[in-house]
């Protein structure tokens, strides 16, 4: 399977994945606790390593997003026309994937490569950025919230930052009507987005443009002729945020032109109010002159949204739409910053069937109807079909569809203690067995189904299962057990056992010669729950080996993927990580069926009684009619007698049924044979690499052996290219002016070995 390039375009058309050199990718830094210390990764303390896995999750960012588009404006600006219609530029544009993946801090660069579909390099300390590498995180726990960078006048050097909600609800737009940038803050793990609104914090432009907020539209290109640049840096440490783009050199604009000259050349100013249109044709951005650097007065074209009381709601909707194009949950925060998806003020983007953002979103409880409200993880819990990831066929990814929440829609996956299960069973019994009104309640609750029909599976997992931070009331079908609180499963479906280097940097020191390979070296992997696997040293020596375990919470099956250098799959072996816990004998259904059968029989008897009455009436009628028809009274009389007999029998049977119903009891809910038929034999909880290596005979001296016997090699070259012992299998002695006897002797000597 491959990515649908017809929808997504080819990788060449996507954002450049290499922010370090390509300058098109967009990145954001997860916040650190203290300002100005962005190189220390905050998230690393928050993201358990076992949440980071091999599987990329990605979705497409709509081409309608400013995020992807504004860089294409510049070529269309020229002397004659400063009005820019992005729609013209967009003709060749396509939706672009945004890749969310893992880049744990401190890992090697190769680790990044693994997550980037085209293996491009990535800054090693970046936490989140699009298309190139973005961190694996719990989708639901990522909080983004939009901000605006605003000015009193378009050209003002004074600039301030407001959260969008502050900007609007506090009427900040009155004094700062020009929005020159929009962006969003990011936080993770349920924390609040970073709200350090100081310019110094938000405006850092160093290296990879590390900053606390990620601009909604940020793109850069190498060189001064950048199409669009997002940041302006002045006076070294104090950085100001602006949105502006420098006109490219081919329109004869000289960097450093005076403002007057600049304005004259391009007739840009309040008078003309040139517009930038988005793909939908909305003229939202207005162009102004701006300058890039306060000291050298490098002017360029800036643009801003002019917010007024009349259009502020439109502006808000526009920014919301841009946030939705990104694909991450976003928050229009008020004083309560602890909200989650499903709460009011929390927005969730909508995706189309191809996994492309639509710009639409749902808010509050309505967001819970969107599939991505269930996404837990930046990888296998992704929204877009992960099997259509680029490079899936080529790089040996393992797919764990069972982990995807796409398969769990409508299901609850509980992460339980042993006692929790017992509590559930006891709870069911209490509700329907000990309660005298249990029968009626059961019928009302389950509509004729067994309670255990609502249990899809129950497994004991040999795993530290990631679960929600808080417990929820246990739900079984339509019934919620308020007295039973359980965690919800929050895992990723996989975890890594880590990496063992086999290049000499770890515990394993290779010989560095032929003995590193079979048959002189053999390797076996013991993988817990999967057994022992022989691996070929040739594939791993000089590299590293990693084992990633994926597990299926539904069946208890697991698959261990053996990787070289973190991303090349070597083998996958299957095992069993979960033991079935047969939660059975919740025989409510059987019991109720019995009750129903008896009640049905009882009803039947009642009907038979009534039927007999009808028969009597009919017989009487027939009897009455007999004088006219003759010969029918006998038949009517038989009917009457039969009916009377049925009536008596029905009354007796009904009493019998009542007795049976009273004495029919359900079998209590329980677990049967729990933990007895699925014992694990686990040699250890860690995999072990066993290496069996050739040993030399006692007395072996590498140097003397090398000097007297020589080491096997294959060198095609001049005899004199080597020093010391040289043995040749074949030599061309043309050019040696010796006798034939000497030539033959020389050949023979070279075959036996000479010292050069």
């Amino acid at each position: 399977m491959a990515v649908n390039y017809e929808v997504w375009g080819t990788p060449e058309q996507w954002c450049n994945p290499n922010p370090g050199s390509g300058y098109e990718a967009i990145e954001a830094k997860l916040p650190k606790a203290t300002a100005d210390s962005y190189y220390d990764i905050y998230y690393n303390n928050l993201v358990p390593l076992n949440e980071i896995d091999i599987s990329n999750c990605f979705w497409g960012i709509s081409k309608n997003s400013l995020f992807l588009s504004l860089k294409y404006i510049s070529p269309y600006i020229n002397n004659d026309n400063v009005n820019v219609d992005i729609r013209d530029v967009y003709e060749e544009q396509i939706d672009r994937p945004a890749i969310f993946t893992a880049t744990p801090n401190g890992r090697s660069q190769s680790y990044h490569h693994r997550y980037s579909p085209d293996r491009s390099s990535a800054p090693p300390d970046s936490a989140i950025y699009f298309r190139g590498v973005v961190m694996a995180f719990n989708y639901q726990k990522v909080k983004t919230t939009p901000f605006v960078a605003v000015r009193a006048t378009p050209q003002s050097n004074a600039q301030t930052i407001y959260r969008l909600d502050q900007y609007i609800t506090d009427n900040k737009y009155v004094n700062y009507p020009y929005i020159v940038a929009i962006g969003y803050y990011v936080s993770y793990n349920g924390g609040n987005p970073a709200y350090d609104l100081s310019l110094a914090t938000i405006g850092h432009v160093k290296g990879y443009n590390v900053h606390y907020g990620s601009n909604l539209f940020y793109a850069r290109s190498s060189g001064i002729d950048s199409f669009l640049t997002s940041w302006r840096e002045t006076n070294g440490s104090v950085n100001y945020l602006c949105q502006s783009f420098i006109l490219s050199e081919n329109i004869n604009y000289n960097i450093g032109d005076s403002e007057t000259a600049f304005a004259y050349k391009y007739s840009i100013g309040e008078q003309t109010q040139p517009k930038i249109y988005n793909y939908d044709g909305d003229p939202l951005w207005e162009l102004y002159t701006d300058y890039m650097d306060g000291s050298t007065r490098k002017y360029c074209v800036g643009y801003a949204i002019h917010a007024t009381a009349d259009n502020i709601n439109d502006v808000r909707d526009y920014l919301f739409k841009q946030m939705a194009y990104i694909g991450l949950p976003f928050y229009y925060l008020d004083s309560d910053k602890s909200k989650h998806i499903g709460d009011s003020g929390v927005y969730l983007p909508k995706f189309d069937i191809n996994g492309i953002t639509t710009g639409e979103y749902a808010e509050g409880a309505a967001a819970l109807n969107l599939p991505n409200s269930e996404w837990t993880d930046g990888r296998t819990g992704s929204g877009y079909d992960p099997t259509r990831r680029p490079g899936n066929d080529d790089y040996g990814y393992l797919i764990n569809p069972f982990n995807s929440n796409r398969f769990t829609t409508g299901l609850n996956v509980w992460c339980m203690y042993q006692q929790d299960i017992l509590d559930v069973l006891a709870g069911i019994n209490n509700l329907y067995l000990t309660d005298p009104a249990g029968n009626e309640k059961w019928q009302l609750d389950f509509k004729g189904s067994n309670p255990d029909d609502y249990i899809v599976s129950c497994k004991a997992m040999l795993l530290n299962i990631a679960h929600s931070d808080t417990t929820s009331a246990f739900k079984l079908g339509p019934v919620q057990f308020d007295g039973i609180a359980c965690y919800k499963y929050n895992g990723t479906g996989s975890f890594s056992f880590g990496t063992i280097p086999l290049d000499g940097t770890g515990d394993y020191t290779p010989y560095g010669d032929f003995r590193d390979y079979q048959p002189y070296t053999t390797m076996e992997l013991y993988i817990p729950l999967c057994g022992t696997v022989e691996i070929d040293p040739e594939f791993f020596v000089g590299h590293s080996i990693e084992i990633i375990m994926m597990y299926d919470i539904y069946t208890g099956a697991c698959t261990a993927g053996i990787y070289r250098d973190n991303f090349t799959l070597y083998k996958a072996v299957n095992g069993q990580i979960g033991a079935d816990i047969p939660v059975s004998a919740m025989q409510m259904g059987t019991y109720q069926n019995s009750v129903h059968a008896l009640q049905a029989a009882q009803k039947q008897n009642e009907i038979r009684l009534a039927s007999s009455a009808v028969t009597v009436a009919a017989g009487a009628a027939a009897l009455i009619a007999a004088p006219a028809t003759g010969g029918t009274s006998l038949i009517a009389g038989v009917g009457l007698i039969t009916g009377a007999a049925g009536l008596l029998g029905g009354v007796m049977q009904e009493q019998n049924y009542d007795y049976q119903i009273e004495h029919t009891q359900p079998i209590p809910a329980q677990t049967t044979a729990a933990e007895t038929q699925n014992n694990f034999c686990v040699g250890g909880l860690y995999p072990i690499l066993y290496v069996k290596r050739a040993k030399m005979l006692q007395g072996y001296d590498a140097e003397i052996y090398s000097h007297t016997i020589g080491n096997a090699c294959l060198i095609n070259g001049q005899v004199g290219s080597q020093t010391g012992l040289v043995i040749c299998s074949s030599v061309d002695l043309s050019g040696v002016p010796a006798t034939v006897e000497e030539i033959n002797a020389i050949k023979q000597a070279l075959g036996k070995g000479v010292y050069v």
Partner: protein
């Protein structure tokens, strides 16, 4: 015919011998018989200094020789020579293209060496544990190890 005598301790397999120890030189009085360039036998005047010589160079042939020196009763010495084709043509040989199948590399290479004295009965064995795990044998008592999926 000028003969230069040396005493060398170089291995005959050396392409270039150590001829730093020059003992002396002599002119050939006469060959003992018809001599070729490969194994000449030559008579010279007796010179006791030349007795330790085991190596020589004969300018007439332009070759190096392994030699044995014998003494006659007539104050003569008989020098029996055997050409050292390696030393004589060393500079040429070094230039010759060859397929070298063994060389003094200092350590084994990645070409399998069937002469390497590997013990066929003994091995180094090493067990390396992977650094991390998420497996747990808690049994649901100390960890919520149970997964229940409900509709």
């Amino acid at each position: 015919m000028q003969i230069t005598f040396y005493k060398t301790s170089s291995d005959p397999k050396c392409l270039t011998k150590d001829i730093s120890t020059v003992i002396g030189s002599a002119h050939a009085l006469a060959p003992t018989e018809q001599v070729g360039c490969l194994n000449p036998v030559i008579m010279i005047d007796y010179n006791s200094l030349l007795l330790p010589a085991n190596y020589c160079y004969i300018d007439t042939f332009g070759r190096y020789y392994w030699c044995n020196v014998a003494v006659t009763t007539a104050q003569r010495m008989i020098v029996s020579c055997k050409v050292d084709y390696l030393m004589s043509w060393a500079s040429y040989i070094k230039e010759c293209p060859a397929t070298i199948v063994r060389a003094e590399l200092g350590k084994p290479s990645y070409v399998a060496d069937n002469k390497l004295p590997i013990d066929s009965r003994r091995y180094f064995t090493q067990g390396i544990r992977f650094p991390q795990t998420s497996l747990s044998g808690g049994g649901g008592l100390i960890q919520p190890n149970y997964i229940m999926v409900t509709r």
